[in-house]
């Protein structure tokens, strides 16, 4: 791992961490439930991006499958919570 790529990975991971903290503030202080669902969806995206950057950082293919799984879980959980807020039940 060269120094240019290593520094860029560190910068990207640091900015993801800072962005996650900002989103976490919105998740805790969100005035209504839909704000919290939106913030949680964005946190899932940050986790997925962290997995992809770690895959580049360590030069490994394994992280890609983790990122794909996180993206799938993000869609399932967010849509389930949105359906719950819309109807009061998830499966009708």
């Amino acid at each position: 791992m060269s120094s240019v790529l290593s520094i860029a990975c560190l910068v990207a991971l640091g900015s993801y961490a800072l962005a996650s903290v900002l989103v976490l503030v919105r998740l805790i202080a969100g005035p209504r439930a839909q704000d919290r669902v939106l913030a949680l969806d964005l946190l899932y995206l940050h986790g997925m991006l962290v997995m992809l950057v770690l895959g580049i950082r360590y030069g490994s293919d394994i992280y890609f499958e983790g990122a794909l799984l996180i993206a799938l879980f993000s869609f399932v959980s967010s849509s389930a919570m949105a359906k719950f807020l819309l109807r009061g039940e998830v499966i009708e």
Partner: protein, 129 residues
């Protein structure tokens, strides 16, 4: 790390990674700072599109140059996101509209299916079939 990449590929991957970090940071700051929910739904689109595209492109460039062949599997993530994110966003927008309507906030547009229906006040619950 076994093989060093050529300097052009390194710089391209580094620039894409830093750019994605900047986009994600801007979207998170927008989510934190904007005032209304419907305005607040827009900044995450920046992270969903440009943030993830930059990282996927960086991953494609890195693995393709390292293994000297096209390794395109990171584009699966952009395809998956472009399918699933509009569904989630649309559901959340409908949730916000429905909950505003149930709470009886002024200025909420009435539902299109029942033109005469005024925003229903405090009913028993959001159960509607």
């Amino acid at each position: 790390m076994s093989a060093e990449l050529p300097i052009g590929a390194q710089v391209a991957v580094a620039v894409l990674l830093v750019l994605s970090g900047v986009f994600v940071l801007i979207s998170a700051a927008g989510l934190l700072c904007l005032k209304q929910f419907f305005v607040r739904m827009h900044p995450p689109a920046l992270a969903y599109t440009f943030g993830s595209w930059c990282v996927a492109l960086a991953s494609i460039i890195y693995f393709s140059v390292r293994e000297s062949s096209f390794v395109l599997h990171a584009s699966l993530i952009t395809i998956l996101l472009s399918i699933t994110v509009p569904v989630t966003t649309l559901l959340l927008a409908r949730v916000a509209l429905f909950r505003r309507r149930v709470a009886g906030i002024e200025g909420t547009p009435p539902p299109l299916t029942a033109p005469s229906a005024v925003p229903r006040g405090r009913e028993s619950g959001p159960s509607r079939s």
